[in-house]
Structures are given as C-alpha cells and as structure tokens.
C-alpha cells in the first residue's frame, strides 16, 4: 500500500504562509515574555544617560556628541538583544525542527529577523527623539535621526543575526557575538551618524540615506544566506 505523500492543498501554506506564521509566532513569544521586549529599550536609555554623567552635561558639548551617541547606543542595544534571537529555539529543540522543514530556510530566517527588528530596531527608532531631547540634539536633526535609524537598524538586525546564528551552539554566546559583529557594524554607524550630522547642519541628507539603503539592500540579499549556513553549521555538531 503506497502512502499518499503528496502535500495536501489545504495543508500547504507555502512560503508566504510560513513567513506570516513565523512573524505571528515571534510576536506571540515576545509579547508573552515582556521583559525581552523592554530590556533593550531600557538599555538604550541608560547608555545615553552615561555620557552626560561620564563626560559633561553641558548642552553645547552634548549637542555635538548627540548624533554619534544615540547611534552608538542604538547599536549596542541591538547587539545586546541579538543573542536571544535563536537561543530559545536552540534550547527547546525547535531550531532542529526548523532546519528540517522542507520549506526554504531563508523564509523563516527573514521572518524572525524582521519580527525582531520590529520589536527592537523600530522601537529604538521611535524612542530616539526622547534621547535626542535629553542630549540636546537640535530639532533640525530629529527627522534625520529617525530616518537614518529607520534605514540603519534593519541592517544591524540582519548582520547581528549572522553573529547570533554562528554562536547559537555556544553556552556563553553573548560577548562573542559583539566581538564578531561590531567591526561589521562600523559602516552603518559611520553613515548613520553622518546623516544626522548633516541634518543638524542643514546639509542634504539624500546621499547618506541612499548609502544606508544600499547597505540594507545588500544585507537583505546576503545575510539570510549567511544566517542559514551558520545555523546549519551550528546545529550539526
């Protein structure tokens, strides 16, 4: 008796269905464990607070520093949240099942990273004006700040996910991820903070945003590949 091995029409959700199901799952997982959501944002705020405390609260000085400081804080907050991307799935065995799915891995990976970005990077972007105010960022710089973060943080999430995938099998992945990923973050940091600087001084932003967009496009195209390869490698031992 031959088994019916053809996928049923009703059962086959296809790649789009898998993408949406994964996003929904990620959101459910995070919203039920609210601390995961909020911690990076608190960290973001705290890091920005360190600068006036550690250096000088003088408005003129802080205003000069603010584009870079907000960007560095966003970068570090994103980095901090990356370790959790695959770790829980690895620990309860879901990651194995994910890798054995006949559907292309990059769909799930992309969904996870995008969901993660919505909850971290996008949240940071929305919170950024608050930090801008605390650090005396001139009002002209705010739109530039938000646009540069909007374009830059997805790249940070994508590249950070590569580090997370490479270290998911290790027990203490946290600091190692930072070591692996920080050099790769530098171009985004440079263009992102320069975009804000340009906005503050009234210069046109277009070029910087285009560059950030190009980096994002490159990351969208290549990172899922690297992440999938890294996940398969990490789980194979």
């Amino acid at each position: 008796m031959k088994m019916d091995t053809n996928p049923r029409q009703s059962a086959s959700l296809g790649m789009y269905g898998l993408f949406m199901a994964t996003c929904r799952r990620e959101f459910s997982l995070s919203f039920r464990r609210k601390s995961d959501l909020v911690n990076p944002l608190i960290f973001f705020l705290m890091v920005a607070t360190l600068f006036p405390l550690g250096v000088s609260p003088e408005p003129g000085f802080l205003a000069q520093l603010s584009p870079g400081v907000v960007w560095v804080a966003a970068l570090l907050a994103t980095l901090l949240s990356m370790d959790a991307l695959f770790r829980s799935d690895y620990e309860d065995g879901s990651l194995e099942q994910l890798l054995l799915s006949p559907q292309p891995l990059f769909v799930v990976v992309l969904a996870k990273v995008i969901a993660h970005w919505v909850m971290t990077g996008l949240a940071l972007t929305l919170m950024a004006p608050l930090l801008g105010v605390m650090l005396f960022l001139p009002a002209e710089g705010m739109p530039g700040l938000m646009m540069s973060l909007l374009l830059g943080t997805p790249t940070l999430s994508l590249v950070g996910a590569i580090g997370a995938a490479l270290t998911v099998g290790l027990k203490k992945g946290g600091v190692l991820i930072s070591l692996l990923v920080l050099p790769l973050y530098i171009p985004v940091l440079i263009f992102g903070s320069s975009a804000v600087q340009a906005a503050v001084t009234g210069l046109p932003l277009g070029g910087y945003l285009a560059l950030l967009g190009a980096l994002l496009a490159l990351a969208l195209a290549l990172a899922p590949l690297a992440i999938s390869a890294a996940l398969r490698i990490s789980i194979s031992s």
Binding site: S10, L18, Q97, S101
Partner: protein
C-alpha cells in the same frame, strides 16, 4: 520487492577521538520498523541525527528512494518526520499554537486535524493552556501529536517514549504498527522493551562498533 526507502552505505562517524560506527550499511523498506540498539553513548542519537540530515559529520552515502539524499533534500525533508531528544515545544505557547507552527513548517502536516490529534495524545482540554503549565510528559505528548498529524512515510524517532506512562507507550506502539502497516517506515531508539506485535528489526551499534577500518 519494492525499492527500499532509505539506504545507508558504509557510514562512518567519529566523535571525540572515538569511532562511533564504521562501515555501517543497511536498507529500510516500506513497512519496516527498525530499532537501533546500543549502550548510552554508543552513537544512537548521532546516527539518527545523521539520518535526519541535521549532522553532516559523517562519511558514507545515504540514499532516499535510490537517489543520494543531498540531491533530493527538499523531498526528503518533506517525507521524513524527526523526533529528537528535546520536545521542540515552545513553553510560552499553547499546544495548539505549537502544532499550528509545525503545520506551517511542513506541508505534510494537516492543520485541520490538530484538535483530534491532541485528543489522541490525551491532551483534550489542554489546547489553550500554555505549555509551561504542562508537565514534561505532557510537553512530549504535544510533540508526539505530530505523529497523528503527519503523512510523512519515514519516522525517525529518538527516545519517543521518554516520560510517557505505560498506557501511553502502548498506544504509541500501536500507532507505530499502524504506520508500518500503511506502508510507512520507522527508525527508533528506545530504552523501553518494545511490545509491538509485529516484526521489529534490530541494529545493535555495540556489536558493529570497531569493525576493521
């Protein structure tokens, strides 16, 4: 005799300076149940991980329906169900949500049959309870519910009866037998004495270990 589903040829694997198995060859036909036996640490889990495709740390060839597995990866993943050491169940989600996720991952799983499957594993009434409120045994049963949902012919099960009570074990054994009678195949490892009323082939890794290089 129909073509064997899964063929393994001259499989070699070593880990931590120890050769786990060498020159391991066997073929699995439709309707067969194979039990991999061996002491703890003899490589049973490693073998199952290699067969499922999770681990690439081996030498030798594996064929699915006559074609090398590497060439038909997608088809193989579609037609195989792997049950590993860990339940693969998210504790924050409910059993139903967990199973819906599996249905999205694999087209061979019929999402409409989820409530029935949960009933079959004795979790009726628990569909909406988050899995962290369930016991370890109940969590494993959530994952085992996939066996009732999947139409994949090959089942690779690593210690499927852990934390399941005697009655549950008997029910699952019955399920395995039915699957084999329908033309499916099973490879499993278990510490339990299998009480399946049917032929179960055994491959003992301890006996096979250390054959000539």
């Amino acid at each position: 005799m129909s073509e064997p589903l899964l063929t393994v040829q001259k499989l070699f694997c070593e880990r931590d300076d120890r050769v786990l198995f060498n020159q391991l060859s066997f073929a699995l036909a439709a309707g067969e149940i194979v039990q991999i036996e061996g002491q703890n640490g003899s490589g049973k889990t490693t073998l199952l991980r290699i067969l499922s495709g999770l681990s690439r740390n081996y030498e030798g060839e594996i064929f699915w329906r006559g074609t090398p597995v590497a060439e038909v990866r997608e088809q193989y993943c579609r037609e195989m169900l792997y049950f590993g050491h860990q339940a693969g169940v998210k504790s924050v989600l409910t059993p139903e949500e967990n199973l819906r996720w599996y249905a999205a991952l694999s087209p061979m799983i019929d999402a409409a049959a989820i409530p029935e499957a949960l009933e079959q594993v004795g979790l009726r009434g628990f569909e909406d309870v988050p899995c962290h409120s369930l016991s370890a045994g109940q969590n494993r049963r959530v994952s085992l519910a996939r066996l009732y949902l999947s139409r994949a012919p090959l089942w690779i099960l690593d210690e499927p009866f852990t934390a399941i009570d005697k009655r549950g074990v008997a029910a699952k054994e019955q399920l395995l037998l039915q699957h084999a009678q329908r033309g499916g195949s099973v490879i499993l490892t278990t510490h339990h004495e299998l009480g399946i009323q049917g032929p179960v082939r055994k491959i003992n890794l301890d006996q096979l270990a250390g054959t000539s290089a």
